[in-house]
Amino acid sequence: MVIKNVICPVCGASCDDIQVELDGNRLTVKNACKMGNAKFQELVSSHRIREPMMTKDGQQRSVSWVEAIERSAQILAEAKRPLLFMGSETSCEAMEVGLHLGEFLGAAVDSNSTVCHGPTAMGIQEAGRVGATAGQSKIRGDLAVYWGSNPLESMPRHMSRYAIYPRGHWTRRGRFDRTVITVDPRRSLTAEDSDLHVQLKPNSDYELLSALLTLLHGRRPHHSVEEVTGVPISVMEEMLEMMKGCNFGTIYVGLGIASSYGKHRNAELALNLVKELNGHTKFVIGALRGHCNVAGFNQMASYLYGYPFALDFARGYPRYNPGEYSAVDLLREKDVDAALILSADVVSHFPAVCAERLAEIPTVCIDIAPCPTTLVSEVVLPGVIDAMECDGTFYRLDDVPVYFRPFASPPFSFTGSNQDTLRQIFDRVRELR
């Protein structure tokens, strides 16, 4: 049977038009990108983690679910300062349980959203944001700026579903009526497909944004900015004229802004530029969020505890301090003595010094497939694939909540979702503490 309108649990685009047909061990997927299709095939893959494992005498061995939950709870209950890391390819409902567990334990709770657009969220706290839903940009937008992002490789359907190729109110001919600007040090695939590629030097986003603001104020920036950014002032002027001349423009910021020097200050200045562009035309800004539900953690943590990420409950109430309570910093400084990792391969995607700390401390991970994080974990609990095997909520890249329903069941009976798994651990932790 063909199931339509399935939500894709891979990137922030949360595409809601996926069609699947499950016939025994054969899964046919339509409308998904390369990444999406690969994730859907996990449903029938041979390497799927189907039973809990624990490291005993240096070897990972299969154990019973009860034993694995017991040891997981024990690790967390006995730790002085545990880290709970909520990955992004899971539901807000699971994250909610994780946050409450963190409060109960007095733990640090962080998420993928920190190493993704954490600095962008900090920039928004500084400057505020003129935003729009993806639908508004799709219907009204006639200019898009991909700043430090390469959606053709990181969010392959962004251009075709939300931003560039669809026909909109002022863009009846789709791509032909839209202007695309890419700001990237590299001639990426997206840059090749753009009308203007502004090839700045790495770590000079702040200076380029400052120069654009200066030009917007009717002044000419100091000529040294050409040397610093590698971009001629004439190109900056051309870019600004394109931006001022559109009906509705959107800047999609990527990790080029958040992950290079300047960090949240880059984001803050981009947000200020957009605010000022609204004196000339309608302009909005949004983050291209690479992972599925990174926006969800920011939403859940903000509404439950007042802060979007890097939370610490050590004093019994939530505190927020990126750089101190954020996962990379806690692991780098060896400030945690146990960890629970949910739906994230932290060992692959954190700097090596952090991965080494994870290998040193007792770690519990919940995942669907073998990866470096499952290799270093003392307890590995089989994950449930959200949007395929259980229902729940994701927040899309534009902070719009998307409810998803399952079309299959988990290949085991001991848990029905990652939320359920965390609840079982939480219940046992309550009994142990």
Binding site: M122, R186, R187, Q199, V347, P351, R357, C371, P372
Partner: protein, 130 residues
């Protein structure tokens, strides 16, 4: 011969395909991700090596990866897919934001004869250090 360059790590569509497909411990993933894309002029200056060792700014951590000539990368910069190989040398400093310097960190690249390790082997190395 070695060069001081700026490391830019980021997405590639095939890294995404393999990662989302649960293939991070496979040779195909290493083939796709244990790679350093180098500008043609820099590649020539290094003697067109098969492999390079990428050394972090602290001089402590380094990783051997395949070298690949790539005209899309400007001189003085290199690109590596975001994966365990790049993250061996990514600067863990977050500048009080929680997010490390995945882009724009200075590294040194030099030709090497060392073998490229698999993701599993790098993880074991980390476990020994941890």
């Amino acid at each position: 011969m070695s060069l001081l360059v700026l490391l830019n790590s980021g997405s590639t569509i095939n890294e995404g395909r393999l990662a989302k497909g649960g293939d991070k411990l496979t040779p195909e993933y290493a083939e796709e991700c244990a790679v350093c894309d180098i500008n043609p002029a820099d590649f020539q200056a290094l003697g067109r090596p098969d492999r390079v060792r990428v050394v972090a700014a602290d001089g402590v951590r380094s990783v051997a990866v395949r070298a690949r000539e790539d005209g899309s990368v400007p001189p003085g910069q290199v690109f590596m897919p975001r994966a365990i190989w790049a993250n061996v040398v990514v600067d863990p400093e977050t500048f009080s934001t929680g997010s490390p310097l995945y882009k724009g960190a200075p590294v040194t690249i030099e030709p090497t004869e060392d073998e490229v390790l698999s993701a599993g082997e790098i993880t074991k190395m980390m476990m020994r250090r941890g």
